[in-house]
């Protein structure tokens, strides 16, 4: 059993994917207080956009993915202005019903356009196969790519929220929306932008994830539980929390399935229950 290093690597990569797809949800939940169950739809939009760009129009993968993220961000922005804005002051039940309804609308729309089947998502040649990091430790080329890219994006998000003026405004609006508006921050525009960025990140995550986890219309529903696990474990509204939670979920899931395949599928749910009893407010509590 060549085991542990490979399991840790695979788990970290899987965690990175979960992080990218979930972090936008954490931002909307923490910042705007919206329980957006339709968040997975943005990951699916990114996935479908990249399929259309890369496979139908023949665009290079490395260009198609960022473009897919931009398209998703634009759609997210429009939906925020038209639909989600109305939900901010409503109760959680309204939000949950509305957004789960949106998931079904999205599933029907994408089935109508692309059919119920799975979409092709072949990788470019240079990302296929395995690379030997050192003798005996072969890792998937695409997984290595995901690890590096995920790391860069996570650092970018962290820097953007903690070190820029925009990030400071977001954090201000998060702790007190009315006060932030009172000191001259345009809260509406801020929300629009953060929502679009969150959607764009989900779109990027979706576009990057589909070569590993596939894409069909039921995507947003199928992986919803994983997004919610990451956000609730990490604590809503914290990027660091989401990252740590996603990595824990990824590593525990992969390690469990490798070492204890009999119990592997159940392990992460046990972990979630235990962690939420221990820290119901999430790993990194919102201040």
């Amino acid at each position: 059993m060549s085991g542990l290093p490979i399991v840790l690597f695979d788990g970290t990569v899987y965690g990175m994917l979960l992080f990218l797809m979930s972090v936008g949800l954490s931002v909307t939940l923490g910042l705007m207080g919206v329980v957006n169950l339709a968040h997975g739809s943005f990951a699916a939009i990114g996935g479908f956009a990249s399929v259309v760009l890369v496979h139908r129009l023949g665009m290079p993968f490395l260009l198609g993915v960022p473009l897919a993220a931009l398209i998703t961000a634009a759609i997210g922005g429009v939906l925020e202005a038209v639909l989600f804005r109305r939900l901010y002051r409503r109760g959680p039940l309204d939000q949950v019903l509305f957004t789960i309804g949106m998931v079904y609308v999205w599933i029907a729309v994408s089935t109508r356009i692309w059919g119920a089947g799975q979409q092709p998502a072949d990788l470019p040649a240079f990302l296929q196969g395995q690379i030997a990091l050192w003798p005996g430790a072969e890792v998937g080329a695409y997984r290595l790519f995901l690890l590096i890219l995920g790391g860069v994006l996570a650092a970018g998000i962290f820097f953007g929220l903690e070190r820029t003026r925009f990030g400071a405004r977001v954090r201000a609006a998060q702790s007190d929306r009315d006060m932030a508006g009172g000191v001259g921050i345009n809260v509406d525009r801020l929300f629009l932008l953060s929502f679009a960025i969150g959607a764009g990140l989900a779109g990027a995550g979706g576009a990057l994830a589909i070569p590993v986890i596939g894409l069909d219309p039921s995507f947003p529903l199928k992986y919803l539980a994983f997004f919610l696990i990451v956000v609730s474990l990490g604590g809503p509204g914290t990027v660091t929390g989401s990252l740590v939670a996603a990595l824990i979920v990824g590593i525990v899931d992969v390690a469990g399935k490798y070492y204890l395949p009999g119990a592997g599928g159940f392990l992460i749910y046990a972990l979630v229950v235990a962690m939420l009893i221990w820290r119901p407010q999430g790993l990194v509590a919102r201040t």
Partner: protein
């Protein structure tokens, strides 16, 4: 109604060339007479159709939600058979009453079955894409003595649940068991199984293990994967480290088989000398093209490949393409097509009688030629007996993947029959 019975326009055309008014009138009368005769023939046809009331068929299947494709495929298959056979089943017009369960919904299926029988007065029920739905309607069928032809549900026990059920689709065990035998014949001695953790997965695991070990092989490890499993890296790594000669996997058709194949390709299982074996679910027509290069060379056992070489299959595929364009048929369309053929043959044998006991009597032991090859409904089991093919996934000249049959097992039934 579409069959032409006479050719009346010919005398009418003559009038155009004639200029003498009197002769024209006379000819018009002739023309009108011919038309009248034709009309009376058509009326006779209508009267004939009215003699035998239309056959009422209840179709319980999925038309909405993530599995909406199932209903669409079956509708297309039924429509194609009717179109190719003069829109009649055993000489009678057909009225189909459709009910949508929107996926596995046993309560709903049972309610629909009751409504179809008591209110719509259907004479036979067909369809049933999900096993729990088929199980749920069994008591209703027994009570009402209404026959049912199962067009997809593949859990082993279904025909045992009611004497009024006949199945013409397949069972998971039926297509998994031949793979174990075939692998043994190839000289494969050690294998691992990986199945989705639900009842059909367990059926596949047991069926493969039984025949493979009967041939002298050994299953060294059996993995069960949760139904909702996005990332296969851990399982594939475990397979690679265990180093069996082959791995047999079963997942319901959908994204799981492709995700598994991609992880297997990425980790180089084939290069490590581990052969990949599966059932046809891994190469479902709606999903297989998305597998891409990762699907190439996969060996599968199944009852139907759209690439099956036979005249009837070519007729089926060409007819389907003519009606539905790029929307390709899958095994559900083919089974629904067969459903009509089976009903036609059974009703012809009963002389049109549709009461439960008579129709079930005709269905037992009935055999037809299907686009998949010869099929038979077991005399005692009321379950499908058919050829199971061994296929290799190859890329055709048009760039599409297809399952090319190269070996077969004849008259296979469910291993638990």
């Amino acid at each position: 109604m579409t069959t032409p019975r006479s050719n009346p326009p010919a005398p009418l055309n003559l009038t155009v060339a004639v200029h003498d008014p009197a002769r024209r009138r006379a000819l018009k009368l002739v023309g009108a007479g011919a038309l009248g005769a034709a009309l009376s023939q058509v009326a006779g046809g209508i009267a004939f159709a009215a003699d035998a009331e239309p056959l009422k068929i209840g179709l319980i299947v999925t038309y909405s939600g993530p599995y909406a494709d199932y209903g669409k495929q079956m509708d297309n298959g039924i429509a194609l058979w009717l179109k190719q056979n003069g829109e009649r089943v055993a000489g009678r017009a057909v009225e189909i009453v459709r009910r949508d369960t929107a996926g596995p919904a046993p309560d709903l299926a049972a309610r629909f079955a009751r409504e179809l029988i008591t209110r719509d007065k259907v004479q036979v029920i067909i369809g049933l894409d999900f096993s729990p739905n088929a199980m749920a309607i069994a008591p209703v069928l027994s009570q009402a003595k209404v026959p049912c032809i199962i067009l997809n549900a593949s859990a082993s026990d279904i025909p045992k649940k009611s004497d009024y059920i006949a199945r013409i689709s397949f069972t998971v065990g039926q297509v998994s068991a031949p793979m174990g035998t075939w692998a043994g014949r190839q000289g494969i001695r050690t294998a691992m199984t990986v199945v989705a953790d639900y009842s059909s997965g367990a059926d596949a695991e047991t069926a493969f293990k039984t025949t493979f070990e009967a041939g002298g092989g050994k299953v060294v490890d059996s993995l069960r994967v949760p139904m909702n499993n996005p990332d296969f890296s851990a399982y594939v790594q475990r397979i690679k480290d265990t180093r069996p000669e082959a791995v047999f996997f079963f997942f319901p058709s959908g994204d799981l088989p492709n995700n598994f194949l991609k992880a297997a390709k990425e980790r180089g299982l084939a290069e490590a000398g581990i052969r990949l074996l599966a059932t046809g679910e891994a190469m479902d027509d709606s999903y297989m093209q998305a597998a891409g290069d990762a699907g190439l060379g996969l060996i599968t056992t199944h009852h139907y490949s759209t690439a099956h070489e036979s005249d009837l299959n070519r007729k089926f595929i060409a007819g389907y393409a003519a009606d539905n364009g790029d929307y390709a048929p899958n095994y559900m369309a083919m089974t629904a097509y067969d459903g009509m053929a089976v009903l036609d043959k059974a009703l012809t044998a009963t002389g049109g009688k549709t009461d439960g006991a008579t129709l079930m009597g005709a269905l037992k032991g009935l055999s037809i030629e299907s686009p998949r090859g010869p099929i038979e409904i077991g005399d005692k089991t009321r379950d499908i007996i058919q050829t199971v093919y061994v296929r290799r996934t190859e890329r055709l000249e048009n760039g599409k993947l297809a399952c090319i049959e190269f070996d077969k097992f004849e008259k296979v039934q469910d291993p638990r029959a």
